[in-house]
Every structure is written in C-alpha cells, then in structure tokens.
C-alpha cells in the first residue's frame, strides 16, 4: 500500500508527518518504506541519519548532433516542442535542461545526424535506518525537471511494505508525479488563509487523479475555522490535528523526531497511522472500481475480452 503525504502550501509539515509516522509504524513491527520524493529539496534524511549504501546516478536522454552528418536543415528545431534544440543560421544548439527526452528530433532528422545520449540529472540513494527502509532522490542543482527522477524513485517502491511517500510541495507536475497511482493521499495543511487556499488546489489536483484523501491540520490552534469548515463541506476526513506547540517547532528545527523527544505525542502519531491505513483500506483498490487512468481502463477491458 502506498500512501502519499502531500500539501498545497510548502512548509506545512509533510516531512514531519512522514518521518514520525514511518518511525511509529516501524516500531510497531510492520515493514515500512519511506520514499522522499521531494527531489528538489529532500529533507527526510535529516531526521533519520541514514547511511546511504546504494547511490545510483539517474539519467535522462538528450540529443547529440553529429556535426559531420548535420546539414543545418533545422528540421529538428522545427519539430521540438520544448525549445531544447534550436537552429540559428544553420547552426544547431542544444539546451539539454529543456529536453523532454521524447526522441522526436532524432526521428525527424533526414540525415540521421542525431543520437540520444544519457545525461545525469540526479541520484537515487537507499539506506536502512534500523528496520525502516529509506530511499530518496536528489536532483542536481540547475536541473529543471524533477519528474523523471521522481518516477525513477517510485520504481523502487517495495510492494510488500507500507510505503510512505513524502511528496514535494505545490500542485504542479512534481507533486502529481509523486502522488499519482498511490492508494491514498494525506494532505497536510495549516488553518490560515494561505493554507486553505493552497489546500483547495491540492484537493482539486488529487481529485483529478480519483484518489481518496484525508487532511492533517498542523498548528491547528493558530488561525481560523475555515479549513475545518472546508473539510466538512467537502466530506474530507480530518485525520489528525497537531497544536501550535513551540516545542514541536524547536524539536523539528534540530532535525529530531517528535515521537522521540515529546513522547506525549506518540499516541497521536499511532492514531494517525491507524487512521491512514483504515481510510486507505476503505478506498477501492486500483484496477478495481475506480481505475486511475486510461491505460488501466484498457487493461480492464482487455481482461474482460480474454
């Protein structure tokens, strides 16, 4: 079962929830894997102190132009929808950070002058922290696209464990790439106007993927009632509320676990873990009543035919 912990607004406490729930469930003796999918700014490792034993470079392909064969016709540039290959006065320039690795330029070149070569965009790293399995992606600074690295990291998900996925902030394509195909999404928010605004967008985003969701309200006594009202109106379960406790902020600021330094919160995190698993278990299984995408629908249809 894969649970994504996401949010609309940054800094609401996704990583805090993810690491504390991961450690809580691990200590209950269940196999857990934590995937830090915020590849632009991964933070989960700061709370777990892992020793990374497997580091793998992740590459994407980009065009390489053989200048001997190239006649400067510019067809590649005309075909590229992303501005990654550009023709100016018969000279071809490549902007690899813009490339989506579609292969279109190589296909289009009448001289077959373009080959695709791998380019490293970041790393995947794995570690065990006691009984907890941990993996993260780290995007190289200067790289524009997080999505291919997030996809590579998700391929490392352990089908036999409870997988907790710390998603990137926002509602754009990195968040969607992290969250799609999960069983359940836990959205972390704060009860402020910014928190509510971004939560509504995150809810919309998750609903386009037809995924069940729940909300955790962090710093719950801070702002106003609008987030609770929104959740009620939208029939979104509130899975936990954590108060605005300065000690929590201080513990997290040092990179420590709440469940270790403030044991009075251990029960809250145990309850949150149970609630998440309960809510996720209630949702239709993927490929069942609510397949996630077109491909799943096709697979279903083809199964009926067979």
């Amino acid at each position: 079962m894969v649970i994504a912990i996401a949010s609309g607004k940054g800094g609401t406490g996704k990583t805090t929830m993810a690491v504390n729930v991961a450690v809580t469930v691990t200590r209950q003796g269940r196999p857990v894997q934590l995937l830090d999918c915020d590849v632009e700014e991964p933070n989960a490792h700061l709370f777990l102190d892992p020793r990374f034993d497997e580091v793998e470079e992740v590459t994407v392909t980009g065009p390489r132009v053989d200048l001997q064969r190239c006649d400067g016709c510019g067809e590649c540039a005309r075909r590229c929808e992303f501005g990654a290959i550009v023709a100016l006065g018969g000279e071809i320039s490549v902007f690899p950070e813009l490339c989506h690795s579609c292969g279109g330029c190589a296909l289009a070149c009448p001289q077959r002058a373009i080959t695709e070569e791998p380019r490293t965009i970041g790393t995947l790293e794995q570690a065990r922290v006691g009984e907890l399995a941990f993996a993260r992606g780290v995007l190289n600074v200067g790289e524009a696209r997080a999505v291919p690295l997030i996809a590579a990291l998700k391929n490392r998900a352990d089908g036999d464990a409870l997988v907790l996925l710390d998603a990137p902030p926002g509602t754009g394509c990195p968040m969607m790439a992290a969250v799609r195909d999960c069983h359940f999404v836990c959205l972390v928010t704060e009860p402020t106007p910014f928190g509510l605004h971004d939560l509504t967008m995150a809810v919309d985003a998750v609903r386009t993927l037809h995924l069940p969701l729940g909300v955790v309200i962090n710093r719950a006594d801070l702002g106003d009632e609008e987030v609770r009202r929104f959740c009620q109106q939208q029939q979104i379960p509130i899975l936990m509320e954590l108060p605005c406790d300065r000690r929590i902020a201080e513990v997290c600021s040092r990179g420590r676990l709440i469940v270790d330094e403030l044991p009075e919160y251990q029960e809250a995190f145990r309850d949150l873990a149970e609630r998440i698993v309960q809510e996720a278990g209630r949702a239709p299984a993927p490929g069942g009543a609510a397949p996630a995408g077109l491909r799943d629908r096709i697979v279903e249809q083809l199964r009926h035919e067979a």
């Binding site: 607004k9 940054g10 800094g11 609401t12 632009e40 700014e41 933070n43 700061l46 075909r79 929808e81 992303f82 989506h100 690795s101 579609c102 292969g103 279109g104 296909l107 289009a108 995007l139 600074v141 200067g142 524009a144 696209r145 997080a146 990137p168 902030p169 926002g170 509602t171 754009g172 394509c173 990195p174 968040m175 402020t192 106007p193 910014f194 605004h197 971004d198 967008m201 919309d204 985003a205 386009t208 993927l209 801070l222 702002g223 106003d224 300065r246 902020a249 201080e250 997290c252 600021s253 040092r254 990179g255 995408g293 077109l294 491909r295 629908r297 096709i298 249809q301 009926h304 035919e305």
Partner: protein
C-alpha cells in the same frame, strides 16, 4: 529598472508574507507573483483584475478516430505511456488509439509517426494570467491549471508582462514572489534578476535547502541576500545559517522574530507592516532598507 525575486529553497519560510510587506513599502514597483502553482499574494494584496488572459502552456495530442487504423505505432513509440488502443471488447480490428491528456507531454512524436495523419497536436490552455491593481501598485499574477506541466513557461510569461508593464509605467523595480524548490519554476523566476532575497527559517531543513538554492543563485551568477525569519525559534541554527551564508558569499540582510501577528495580518487580509508596528514590523522595514540600498533604489526616490 531593477528586478528582484524572493526565494527560499524550503517552502513555508515566509516568502509571500515578506513580499507582501515589501509591496507596501516599495515606492515605485510592479509586484509579480511567480508562484503560479500556489499564488497566495493576492489573498493579502486584494487585486482588482483589469486584464485577464488565457495561457497556452503546451500542446496535447489528439487522435482522429475516424482516420485511425489501429496500427499502434503511436502506442509503441510514446515515451510517456500516453497513448493506448481502445475499442469494443472482442473486436481487435475495430480498435483505435486515444491519448490520455494527463500523461501526454505534447512532444509530437505520434504526429510524426502516424502513417495516416490521424494524430495532431492541439494547443491547450493550461492556465491564466492577470494584470491587476492593488492598493500599493500593479500586480501581475497567474494561476496554473491543476496538475499542469510547464509552470516555468507561465512564470516566464508573468515575468515578461511585469517587465513590460514596468517599462511602460517607468517603474523602478519589479518585485517577484518566487516559488519553493530549485526546479524549473524557480529558475524561470530568477533568470535575469539583479538580486535575490533568500528567506530561511532556523531549522536544519531550511539550512540544507538554503545551501542548494544558494548554489542555484551562484550557478546563475545572481547576487543574493539572506534573511532569517522566526530566528528566535532556534538561535543555534540561525547562527549556523549566517556562518554558512558568509562562506557562500550570501550577504546577511537581517533577522525577523517569530510573531503570531504574521498570521493575524493574514487573517485580516493585511500586510504585516500595515497590521502591526512593533519589533516585527521594524525588522521587516530594516530588511527592505537593506534591499533598497543593494539595488540602489533609495536614490531614485529621494526628494531633490
């Protein structure tokens, strides 16, 4: 005319709250909300929209089922698993291809390959952008559609429109509220600016992310200032951040104390400097003064 962007690396450090206060303090600026994923500046600046435009951020492939022969070449060659065969069960001969617009990246490979020209790319509206008036200055902002790709493109659009407006109105500054992270929307929000303000909080997470975003600033050769928000939450880490900043060549712009008035201001839909007058407000004003000095803006509005 100068340009600056407020970034952070880590989310939730206070970029938007600070930018809103800077908008209140700036004398002759255009404000741009470059966090097109989660544009929150409007919640405090209360813009009156004067111009609204759809944004065509990309293209999506579409198959004309009437022409499609179901050869499946597009399915084989699509690198994003966006095309699939579908049709009545039990009759493979009647199958045609269809594109899942959520997965399609609009690359056009299927268009190139289709032997019967059944596939074409269609421009898609992926967001909207706006030029608005606020009680302080014009605001250029945008909203990216849910889950849309190419936020960098919409950010660039906001930047361009803000720059053009600043030039038309002879403004001194374009002040941009940036997104969190280091990826394409951040890169689009900082390219070509004169100064960056990196807003951090005194946590190990923010320190870690600060190094990466400072690295990004160096990569693009843009001078940067750092300010530590909520500094009194952890003075040890605050000091560590300042030491790290000194080593990285990022100038210290100041520190802001933790104060629940920041949320109070938000709840009242006001900027912090409008809402309160104590040490919190003073700290923000000092940082803004430092920014004006660095951008050499102060001289532009001093009375002769």
């Amino acid at each position: 005319m100068k340009q600056m962007t407020v970034i952070s690396g880590k989310g939730g450090t206070g970029k938007t709250s600070l930018t809103a206060s800077f908008a209140a303090l700036a004398h002759n600026a255009i404000v741009a909300d470059c966090d097109v994923d989660a544009p929150d500046l409007a919640l405090v600046l209360a813009p009156r929209v004067e111009k609204q435009s759809p944004f065509v951020g990309g293209k999506v492939a579409r198959v004309d089922a009437g022409r499609c022969t179901g050869c499946g070449l597009c399915v084989e060659s699509c690198r994003f698993e966006a095309t699939a065969l579908h049709g009545p069960p039990g009759d493979a001969a009647e199958h045609t291809c269809a594109v899942d617009p959520h997965s399609c990246e609009g690359c056009g490979v299927c268009v190139q390959l289709c032997p019967v020209e059944a596939c074409r790319l269609e421009p898609t509206v992926t967001g909207e952008w706006f030029i608005s008036q606020t009680r302080f200055s014009p605001l250029v902002h945008a909203q990216l559609g849910v889950g849309q790709d190419n936020s960098g493109k919409l950010v660039s659009c906001v930047r361009q429109e803000a720059r053009a407006l600043a030039e038309r109105e002879e403004r001194d500054l374009v002040l941009c509220d940036g997104p969190p992270g280091i990826g394409c929307p951040v890169i689009a929000s900082l390219s070509g600016v004169d100064l960056l303000l990196i807003v951090v909080e005194p946590t190990v997470s923010a320190l870690h992310d600060f190094e990466r975003v400072a690295d990004l600033a160096r990569h693009f050769q843009i001078p940067a200032l750092v300010c530590i928000n909520k500094h009194d939450l952890n003075e040890t880490v605050a000091a560590e951040i300042e030491k790290r900043a000194d080593r990285l060549g990022v100038e210290r712009a100041g520190r802001i104390p933790y104060d629940e008035a920041v949320v109070g201001a938000q709840l009242h839909r006001r900027t912090v400097v409008e809402h309160t007058n104590g040490p919190l407000s003073a700290a923000i004003r000092n940082i803004w003064q430092r920014i004006e000095q660095r951008l050499d803006l102060a001289s532009e509005h001093r009375a002769p």
